[in-house]
């Protein structure tokens, strides 16, 4: 009964988290092997309402020009300011002239690898946007899911009597090597 329940849970969690785990693994390969992400940059000028602060300007640009993202830090420049709108697949650097409303948009798109890389780093439950927070909850669910997958996997292996010996050797080797390395690293 318990075995069946845990087996179902293991499978359901595995299927639910498959793409998230693959995203982490593939983007980890990209980072570990320094696969270069070359952004495609496009630049354009648009006219916005003059005299705006950064947040109303961002809202206006999102509504009228179809750009999106989370606002970064606002930096003063001569006659106005600039700030980025960051999203997983790139960023739009916005430079605004407060007196004329002239706005320069520099959009960089990092494509598939860029999206995976940023998703790997997005976390937390107190972001500016609801979508980003929802992703933060997904990260939390995936983290707890990894423990549950590991725990249920260990339980199911232990119930397979024929596999106990080789399993004990593998698990033992894993624990000795990895815990040993962690202790050596922490010293």
């Amino acid at each position: 009964m318990i075995f069946r329940f845990l087996r179902h849970m293991h499978l359901i969690l595995g299927l639910l988290l498959f793409w998230v785990v693959m995203m982490y693994a593939v983007s980890a390969v990209q980072m570990a092997h320094r696969i270069r992400i070359v952004p495609v940059v496009t630049e354009s000028d648009v006219m916005a309402t003059p005299g705006l602060d950064a947040r109303p300007l961002a809202n206006e640009l999102m509504e009228k020009n179809g750009i999106s993202g989370e606002m970064g830090n606002v930096t003063p420049v001569s006659g106005g300011y600039r700030f980025p709108l960051n999203r997983a697949g790139g960023a739009t650097q916005i430079t605004y002239d407060r007196s004329t409303g002239k706005t320069h948009l520099r959009a960089s798109d990092t494509g598939f690898w860029g999206v995976l890389n940023r998703l790997h780093h997005f976390h937390g439950l107190h972001n500016q946007t609801g979508v980003r927070n929802l992703w933060g909850w997904t990260v939390l669910f995936a983290s707890l899911g990894l423990f549950a997958l590991g725990g249920t996997g260990i339980f199911m292996w232990f119930k397979l009597y024929k596999e106990r010996t080789i399993g004990l050797v593998l698990l033992g080797a894993n624990l000795v090597v990895s815990v040993g390395l962690l202790i050596a690293l922490r010293m």
């Binding site: 179902h8 499978l11 359901i12 595995g14 299927l15 639910l16 988290l17 498959f18 793409w19 785990v21 693959m22 995203m23 982490y24 693994a25 980890a28 390969v29 980072m31 570990a32 092997h33 320094r34 999203r87 697949g89 999206v115 998703l119 997005f122 976390h123 937390g124 439950l125 107190h126 979508v131 992703w135 933060g136 997904t138 990260v139 939390l140 995936a142 983290s143 707890l144 899911g145 990894l146 423990f147 590991g150 996997g153 260990i154 199911m156 292996w157 399993g167 593998l170 698990l171 894993n174 624990l175 090597v177 990895s178 815990v179 390395l181 962690l182 050596a184 690293l185 922490r186 010293m187």
Partner: protein, 185 residues
């Protein structure tokens, strides 16, 4: 199953790293712990560049598990060498006029240690054996994780496809991730 048993610890480390990131555990600068500060006698050769002095400081300090230092000048124009490792930061400031080296050690929490450990890759420049061995273990684990996910899904789908919850899990997992991808893109 065999790859799972071989990578059980790393699965826990990856899970812990996710929890640490979600909880936004304070880093070495925000943790509120007081750094340990010591001073050592050190004289920089008169004709050495900042990078060369940084290397000499590295040889003198022998900071455990740290790679090459980040060299810069601070607001007082003093040479600062930052040695980052899985355990935090060792910051050496050269007090040239006094012929001394001020060493500030900021050791991170065990939670940040796990976070750093999960991000240690084979590009690690530390010269001692432990970070290198751990980095190769991480490399093996990344590929194992992919293999585990692929074989696990294959096994699940081929043996449990008739169950409604198998189909529901596949749909929810795939559609959910696709939506996230498109919205965040």
């Amino acid at each position: 199953m065999y790859t799972g048993l071989l990578n059980f610890t790393i699965l826990c480390v990856f899970g812990l790293a996710g929890l640490v990131a979600t909880a936004e555990a304070p880093d070495i600068f925000k943790a509120g712990t007081v750094p340990v500060v010591t001073t050592l006698p050190f004289r920089a050769p008169g004709s050495a560049s900042d990078q060369q002095v940084g290397e000499l400081i590295r040889e003198q300090l022998q900071t455990a598990h740290a790679g090459k230092p980040n060299i810069r000048r601070d607001a007082q124009h003093q040479l600062v060498a930052d040695f980052y490792s899985v355990n935090g930061l060792v910051r050496a400031t050269l007090l040239e006029g006094e012929g001394q080296l001020q060493v500030e050690t900021r050791r991170n929490s065990i939670w940040r240690f796990f976070d750093n450990a999960h991000a240690t890759t084979i590009q690690e420049t530390a010269s001692d054996w432990a970070p290198g061995a751990w980095a190769w273990y991480i490399e093996l684990s990344i590929w194992s994780l992919m293999l585990m996910a692929l074989t696990g899904v294959w096994l699940g789908l081929t043996t449990r496809w008739p169950f409604w919850w198998t189909k529901a899990s596949v749909v929810v997992g795939t559609v959910g991730f696709a939506i996230f991808y498109w919205v965040q893109k």
